[in-house]
Symmetry: C2
Subunit: 130 residues, 2 copies
DNA sequence: CTGCGTGCAAATGCTTTGCAAAGAC
DNA sequence: GTCTTTGCAAAGCATTTGCACGCAG
């Protein structure tokens, strides 16, 4: 079942395309509301879900936080969260290996790496470390 | 303010000590209920929180999942989740480095590594990969 | 005894769902 | 015109909180 083209759906996709980083549902809402006034949060949830189901978005989950969403098709990568501004950035490349930590008899099929610290912007503007 | 010793609190600590792996609130509840019938979920939440505040427990968060809790004092380590049985295991040691993925100007202060796959038990009992 | 800790039930916060009206095709 | 999508409000879930009672110290 192909989703219909609506102003709301277009605004939601535009918000995610423009961001260049993973956005939370609330971030999508406030960004898309600049194009479609009165846009409801339920519509954002519904469209984000359908965009994930279609494979246009992928879910980015950080431990203990609400999910974020980014455009799919970026290949294998990981994320960095700034402790200061809270933004999540995409990292390119991947860590070496973790062969040395895998218990005998275990099979590793996927992995996730999350880095935290301070982004270039926060460092250069002299914000205190959050 | 030191917490009082109660049957409920003892049972909750015993459950976590006996597990040897991170437990969810529900897992703590069902395990501790074997010692204290009628134990309420709110009591588990309250005690787990206070044990974390005291530093006796640490929170283990996997993306998109409810928090788990494990005894503190184990030093730096990461976790492995079996896609088959869902259990979370502690890993010893740490990955090499991720210097090559850090953007210029960023400062990394913490990191998290999560591995997923199939544990030794599930592999040897021939369960299908989940 | 005094007061903290417990169990229950109500409240909370985020996400999902039901439904009538609006919009896409 | 028909059928999907939307916005609102209500429903769900996991977690937290308020309160009266019971147990620890």
């Amino acid at each position: 079942m192909q989703a219909k083209k609506t102003r709301q759906r277009d605004a939601i996709r535009a918000a995610l395309e423009a961001a260049g980083r993973p956005l939370s549902t609330e971030e999508v809402l406030s960004s898309a509301q600049r194009q479609v006034e009165g846009l409801g949060i339920a519509t954002v949830y519904r469209n984000v879900r359908s965009l994930v189901d279609e494979g246009w978005l992928v879910t980015v989950e950080l431990p203990g936080q609400s999910p974020r969403y980014e455009l799919s098709g970026k290949g294998h990568h990981h994320h960095f969260q700034c402790n200061c501004c809270g933004l999540v950035y995409e990292l390119h490349g991947c860590v070496g290996s973790f062969r040395n930590v895998i218990p005998r008899g275990f099979l590793v099929t996927e992995h996730e790496v999350l880095l935290y610290g301070m982004c270039g912007g926060c460092r250069s503007t002299g914000h205190a470390k959050g």
